[in-house]
Symmetry: D2
Subunit: 409 residues, 4 copies
């Protein structure tokens, strides 16, 4: 473990799910040299000169609503989805079990029926105002930082997708929202936003890896600006949507007219259970769908479905059928099937988001970290949805940081 | 038709094949407003302010080795592959038939067994030295330019793929090659290179839309430099390889390790007949395969096949299976099937290559037109194989031309 | 056209849709030798000795609810879906137009919102009791038979799928239902069943090519038995479900355990418009789904969707993902994509159902024609859902008929 | 273990490959109740009343040409292909290791270059005449039977595919072949046939699970008839070809005309190494290809490839593209991808072939066991290639055996 001065913290909201367990196992096994850093983009040429915090500088904790542990989650994934080498899992057992001490009670406001049903951790059902919840969650993060003498903490929301939340007048400015939070009764914010506020109040950065509201309302943005917080989101771009953001620009650049783009996703992990509820699913579908229109500049018919198929467990299988018109009205078809393991695609992005966000804060960035757009389905304050263009932006940012780094020395 | 001063010429080598017939029908039907310009990238926002020669400024002629006509080729495609609207075809009949007057005898040196067998146009079998052939072909192009008072001619090779041609000592400098060409006996160059030389000698630009040798030998490059010719190639990037150049960068940018990339292509048009010969196929496979290694920077196993399946006619169907390793050694799979009509994908690229090349010459560019890399599987003098990066280069070039254009006025 | 004594009639409910137009064009073009009999199973070895009525003995008429004609429908399909040879269509134009004289007003009781909206033929909205509607429809069929001196008429329902209809007490016996029909007010039966009754009353056979209720209620079966009617259904097995009935037995016969079977269907013709309504879709999904359980003998998770994608028109594309467990718990996957033209798959089955049903009636069969099970997704009174087994039954039946035929002579 | 009187033997040629190791592990784990009998068809309703020898009556031994063990093979598969539960493997370790005692030196005559290179077991290179080899191999089998007091032994060839072997005059009658075998010099038979002869001489049954020659030559059939041997083959039908034998009958039964059927297979296990040699591959391709013609009764274009892709290991992935013509010449496409684990598909068939063959011998069957056709790509003496029809034959056979069984008691 690193010396105190260099330690940084990763605080995972939903720490005991598949992504959390995988991120933990990955951090531990890669820093020990048990596994190669495949999937971690910080090791790629454009970024390997950046002063990203090394894996062994990171301490991990988090919020959780279920009676669960990262170790149990990792074992379940190994058994059911067939992932992780048995030797790697065994070698990291002690470390994963130890992490359990850093798990605290989460929040469940407006998280939707299936998620509320999973919330068997007694503490999450305590009576408290929204402001009280924020204070409690912020205290968890601050204590974590102090306890481990961390230079900075990055909070990343990897909890289940919440139903769409109607942003209204109350959410337009911080003073008004602040008053609403103090009132008892139904929370004026969903859990994802309570965590965001808690991160702001605790001086941490906030990354929303889900399509939930998170920090994406004017009042919350105001508060973040007041506190000089860095943040980014929304919704990690891991599989089918990554493909969309890679393929749609091709059709645009060849002036091939997309007539319809149909995407069917099937999978069976806990995330899928949450998405099996129409309310929760609605938010996800919106996040997966918009970028085709954004990239093409017109609106072909799009259809995207997500279905819960337990036998597939963590193996997300997507079939996309793209019907397009070429020269002289000729209609052609591209189909793809993507068979990826969702948590294993998400976890390395979570780790790198923590590392890139922490570096940005160290380099005095605040506000939306728009150079991280390539990680997200719906990047905050970024209109460009082409993956290649987003990635080029990150490479450029890295180039700028490196030259700054060189001149500083 | 445009006034004389603005007329430009497109000279197609292999004018009566599917691509040639489609390009002709496309030029005619789109300039008449019978069809939309789908597939023509010159109509996209980054390029629509460029002073590309409008479609009705183009006159088309070409070389051919078969007793065939563009009109018959278009009718055959309509009947067998089900492409082209019947009304469009009928409306353009006179124009396509008229084009037949501009077809001249081609050349068949080292073009491979199946192509030689198709060459039923008597004139292509005349006895002549390679130099004689070049002179004859160049004369065809020059006469065409004079006959129609064309400002410039772009020669584009869309003939069948030739077998790989061994470049030796003779091909290292122009004086040596020049002497070899004058000798009688087997030609020291394949037909694609004779056409390239003819284009150079006739003051035309030369674009190689095939993986044949074309202009890609030191001696030919020397000659082009002496004459100030503009040129580009090789091998139009229309379908499966386009997909590779779009998808491989995604794996690279996510640090996902490609283990194997298998691509099987099946189709049944005349191009497939040529490729059904192992010698001719070899050149094509090489051109389709290399870019995965170039983009990834390491060498996963790659396999690419092309098979002749007559029932598919012009409908190229490709299945690609990409096996890759993600975080913690987890193996995942992406598969795609591409069902595209080959000639309909190629023809708009041919038209735009002519327009962009002509503009470049007008703007005083010479040598390899590397900004056109995004059109090719194996772009001359360009190492970057990512489609998005290549396209960005073209957009940048266009931006530079536009600002020059503005200041000139 | 055949001599009077041999003429038989095919009465199509929904005659001016894609299936109706295709069946008409097929009958006409194949009997004239313009097209081969591909898709007509009566020409296969096991059946070619049966005394099926030849194609030129058939006269076609039908009910329709839209202001539409078979000729317009055929032209629209040619234009939009790219089916039918232009020459064939032109050669049969007069015949298709002539058929328009034999189209009568249909019925729309309980046919669902999207279908009712299409019903722009004024006569279908007349005020009448259900009994009155049956009488009117039966009169249309009887007149048709007399007008053309037909030996027998087969009524086939190829109209849009109706929403599921709740069968209650009223539908348990004929006297009770008979009284209910005579009352004014909402019809106690959906349109598909009114047509079934009309067929019974007119002495015709009734085939239900859709998943609508049709004849499948006790009271209707009673009435059919009283009148000695032959009938069969439900829901033609044309594409994805045909595949299911072929593949599921393979998994059963290898003792491979199906874990989940997901099928997504996309298409864009008028049938899809009707199915885009959740009520109408429900009936279809039920019909497409049950047979996997029936064949396997246990209940893996199944999911089937049908989505309306206008750009695909008549081209039904289905993706099925079958997750199964083999030896020692090893999980494997079979995926297929089916790209079929729906009307072109259905129409030859409609013709052969007419021919096989007419032969059965000639051979004195009545009641459910269970030997025709291989044509249906949900064959009446047949538990066996394996296509191979169903087909073997039809072959056996044909064998029996042939030997009877031989001894008779 | 069963009492002596009931014990039966399974002798595997190529015992230490993936199929052998899997069969051993399967026998052991299922008889102990550690794994369910998924994949064993003897447990299906049509067969569960047959007096098949229970799994715990079987003793396993075999020939092998490599320095390898079933235990090492099983561990390698677990590690590389991710198959077998770790607990199951551990529980059966002692049993698999013990089996090693029953492995004897195999033979390598005409087995092809890649197989010969793998043959690192010194004993397989001994100098011996073909007759000597047969005698040695037969002695191994007989000793095995005596050592374990086995009622009967079934020999199953699961070794790598041999190159096609030219059957000539020598192979037309047994006396002539017998003489040739006794001569020194190159063997007049490939290894697969030497094993077949050894089985015959040892009084065992012989099953050829590969496309190698095996027992399929007149002289060998004569010898088998003289000795009253039971036998069957050739080439187990496990995946892509199973699909062909299931799907081709569907096209036939719907009178849909197959235009082309392309099948590409990729996998990476040891079998694939052997098949990577053009000579060995030729035999396999022939076996995978013929049945489409046999079933359809005409010859559409067929193409089948097998490629060695090491990253896939035992996971055979096949893509089949079936282009067919329906009603009125409409061209449609069915594609499937099959992702199966080859050894896991083969092993349960091997076990059941042993059990069904042993029962047949007990019931006094001899000669070709044609009722077992559904297990094979190229069933000996069976023209019917439809899987459903072949399976129906086995069900009928079982029905006949059961009724005999009942009357006997």
């Amino acid at each position: 473990m690193a010396k105190s001065a260099n330690r940084v913290g990763l605080w995972l909201v939903g720490a005991c799910g598949g992504v959390g367990a995988t991120a933990l196992l990955g951090l531990e096994s890669i820093r020990r040299g048990l596994e190669p850093p495949t999937g971690l983009i910080g090791h790629l040429a454009p970024f390997d000169q950046l002063r990203l915090a090394p894996l062994d500088h990171w301490v991990v904790g988090g919020h959780e609503i279920r009676e669960a542990t990262p170790w149990a989650a990792a074992c379940e994934m190994h058994r059911q989805a067939g992932v992780f080498r048995a030797e790697t899992l065994a070698a990291c057992a002690a470390s994963l079990k130890r992490c359990q001490r850093e798990i605290r009670d989460g929040a469940i406001a407006h998280c939707g029926q299936p998620v509320a049903q999973m919330a068997d951790r007694p503490g999450v059902h305590r009576k408290e105002s929204a402001a009280g919840a924020v204070e409690r969650l912020a205290h968890d993060i601050s204590s974590f930082r102090r306890r481990h003498a961390l230079r900075h903490v990055v909070v990343i929301n990897i909890a289940s997708t919440e139903p769409p939340f109607a942003v209204g007048k109350t959410h337009q400015d911080w003073p008004r929202l602040s008053k609403a939070l103090a009132r008892h009764g139904p929370s004026p914010l969903p859990a994802s936003s309570l965590y965001a506020l808690a991160a702001i109040e605790a001086g941490a950065s906030y990354i929303n890896f889900t399509p939930s509201l998170g920090i994406d309302a004017p009042a919350l943005r105001q508060r973040a600006a007041q506190c000089g917080s860095a943040f980014m989101g929304n919704d990690g771009k891991t599989g089918e949507t990554l493909m969309k953001s890679v393929l749609a620009p091709m059709f645009a650049a060849r002036n091939l007219r997309v007539l319809s783009w149909v995407g069917h996703n099937i999978f069976g992990n806990r995330d899928a259970v949450a998405l099996d509820d129409p309310a929760n699913k609605a938010a996800k579908l919106r996040s997966k769908d918009h970028l085709i229109h954004d990239i093409l500049g017109y609106r072909p018919q799009t259809l995207v479905s997500i279905e819960y198929i337990p036998s597939l467990d963590d193996w997300k299988t997507a079939w996309d059928h793209i019907h397009f018109e070429g020269f002289l009205g000729t209609r052609m078809v591209l189909q793809f099937t993507w068979q990826g393991c969702d948590s294993l695609l998400a976890a390395p992005l979570v780790i790198e988001l923590a590392r890139f966000a922490e570096l940005a804060v160290r380099e005095k960035f605040a506000g939306p970290l728009t150079h991280l757009a390539c990680f997200f389905k719906s990047p905050i304050d970024v209109g460009e949805q082409s993956f290649a263009a987003q990635y080029a932006t990150l490479v450029d940012w890295a180039g700028a940081q490196k030259s700054i780094g060189r001149t500083e020395k």
